[in-house]
Amino acid sequence: MIERTDVEHVARLTRLALTEAELERMREQLNSILAHLDTLRAVDTEGVEPTSHAVDVVNVMREDEVEPCFPQDAMLANAPDRSGELFRVPRILED
């Protein structure tokens, strides 16, 4: 059962500012997702290897070759703030 404190914890980890109403709605939704997992758990998976991927493919690799980059201006175009050739972000440490 997901409690309110769990939702607050996850919200903090993911930097989401949720209102009281949203916290409650998330709590309900997360609980119904977990309930759905209980349904899945009913499937007999005896002898089936756990997997993290839906496709049965391994070893997809590329050769170590340089390809063209994107232009600097294009990569900086969406920056909320920039200083010359650099992205500018708010201070990092807390007061």
Binding site: S52, V58, Q72, M75
Partner: protein
């Protein structure tokens, strides 16, 4: 807590120091870990990026095969077990150097585990356990406007973002700051030999974090550990750890609790400081990276890589001692950098007096090199030319003193020794008749030295030899001058 200066008045023997190192090495691939952007250092900021390495939504990373190969190569050199299967995982955290808010790393299934690295401290050797070695991507580089504490804003360059990183975690088996520095030195020598990392700490190719704790001697349980970040030179590793050991020792002496935290080494003020980061606890919510399928490492591939492993620094050092009869310390210096050892061996092939070659390399070669790149100097003076110079000394054509000047000219012009000696007329004067005349003239001009010699001052002879050498521009054969002068002086005395 107020900063405690190192060397606080406590009994250092009460506690045992426990250190573990996490070393991040940038791999020398041409392209990044998951995209084709180049890894070249020093390009204009944000000029070597693409949507993959800037973490744009909807892009697909693809693993660089060479990075995996380099990881395996290193793992084998560290005697690790290369896992048959490994997987990448997302490590979540929020920091502006990481725009997609997770770093692609490896967690439960790393590339390799359980190895060791042999470390020499004070003449004895210890094997330090390596817990794991995994691959991940580097993050962007932050520049603070001012210091990290006072900065109003930070600036980000993502060129480094996505460069392949290999993280190697030692077991907490290092017992002193000196041993930790020695571990890092041995680590660097190996990855440079393996040609998987350039080992350049100033450019950040090799970075180190340390975990430090103290426990009462004999205790089995580990004390509360403190993580120190930002150790970017051998000197800093040792100094930061010394400071931290002293700080923790002083705290324990007054029954103060050690707080588990991350501290930053401030190299300017020589203190570690607590980092009050916005990073919320250490809850990285790892999960398998859905965008990358697992790797199943082919045994044959591993064996191919193993077969191509070069001779490593310690083995080479041992061989230099047994094969060339060099001392351990000389061998250590020669084998620390692969190119220098290669140079030595190439020169010895041409001029088999290993001691003469090593003496020359350790004195003149390293003096001229002065911390520069061996490869540049060895292009100017190839090993064959050094051998040629040593041959001229050995057969008496030039004196050792003149040879130093010839070597300088060789470095400047890239010519070989015989060419320079011939052009500048530096051939040693070994003609007795010529030297006879010069010695007579010098003796006639220095009656005082003769008198001194008669009164038993043997040092006067040395002065006369010096005068003869000076008169010949250093070209007289010193042994011959010495003998001729000895004859003449003995005749005067009787």
């Amino acid at each position: 807590m107020a900063v405690t200066p190192p060397g606080a008045d406590v009994n250092p023997d009460r506690y045992e120091v426990v250190i573990g190192l996490e070393v991040h090495a940038q791999l020398r691939t041409r392209s990044k870990m998951f995209c084709g952007c180049p890894t070249r250092f020093g390009a204009p900021p944000n000029s070597q990026t693409c949507p993959v390495c800037q973490g744009m939504p909807g892009v697909l990373p693809v693993v660089n095969r060479r990075a995996v190969e380099f990881g395996i190569r290193t793992a084998l050199a560290f005697h690790c077990r290369v896992n048959a299967a490994c997987r990448f995982a997302r490590k979540h955290y929020y920091y502006p150097d990481m725009p997609k808010n997770y770093q692609i790393s490896q967690y439960e299934e790393p590339l390799a585990e359980d190895g060791f690295l042999e470390v020499d401290v004070d003449g004895s050797s210890r094997a330090i356990g390596i817990q794991r070695l995994h691959l991940e991507e580097d993050v962007g580089k932050l520049l603070h406007e001012g210091t990290i504490e006072t900065a109003k804003a930070s600036l980000v360059d993502f060129n480094r973002s996505g460069v392949p990183l290999m993280e190697t975690v030692s077991r907490p088996e290092l017992r002193s700051p000196e041993e930790a520095a020695a571990y890092l030195r041995a680590f660097r020598a190996i990855v440079v030999y393996l040609d998987v990392c350039d080992g350049n700490m100033e450019e950040g190719s090799l970075r180190c974090d340390a975990n430090v704790s103290l426990r009462p001697r004999g205790a089995a349980e580990l004390g509360t550990k403190v993580e120190i970040k930002n150790l970017n030179s051998f000197r800093n590793v040792e100094r930061a750890l010394k400071f931290e050991v002293a700080r923790q020792t002083a705290a324990l002496a007054v029954d103060e609790r050690i707080v588990q935290e991350t501290r930053l080494w401030d190299a300017d003020r020589e203190v570690t400081r607590s980092m009050r980061s916005k990073e919320y606890a250490h809850d990285y919510r790892y999960f398998p990276e859905p965008d990358l399928v697992p790797l199943q490492i082919d045994r044959r591939w591993v064996e191919e890589i193993r077969a191509e492993l070069p001779e490593l620094p310690r083995a080479r050092r041992q061989r230099f001692v047994s094969r060339y009869g060099l001392s351990l310390s000389t061998s250590d210096i020669l084998t620390h950098h692969g190119p220098l050892a290669d140079y030595f061996e190439a020169a010895v092939t041409e001029f088999p007096d290993a001691k003469a070659v090593s003496n020359w390399i350790l004195s003149e070669f390293l003096r001229v090199l002065a911390g520069g790149d061996e490869r540049v100097l060895s292009m100017k003076v190839p090993p064959r030319n050094l051998a040629g110079l040593l041959r001229l000394i050995a057969d008496g054509t030039i004196s050792g003193k003149i040879a130093k000047d010839v070597f300088s000219t060789m470095v400047d012009t890239g010519e070989d020794a015989p060419t320079i000696v011939r052009r500048e007329g530096l051939t040693q004067v070994a003609d007795e008749a010529v030297l006879d005349g010069i010695i007579d003239a010098v003796m006639a001009a220095n009656p005082k030295a003769i008198e001194d010699f008669k009164r038993g001052k043997t040092a006067a002879k040395k002065a006369l030899v010096g005068q003869v050498m000076k008169a010949t521009g250093g070209k007289a054969n010193p042994a011959l001058v010495d003998r001729l002068l000895e004859d003449k002086l003995s005749k005067i005395q009787t």
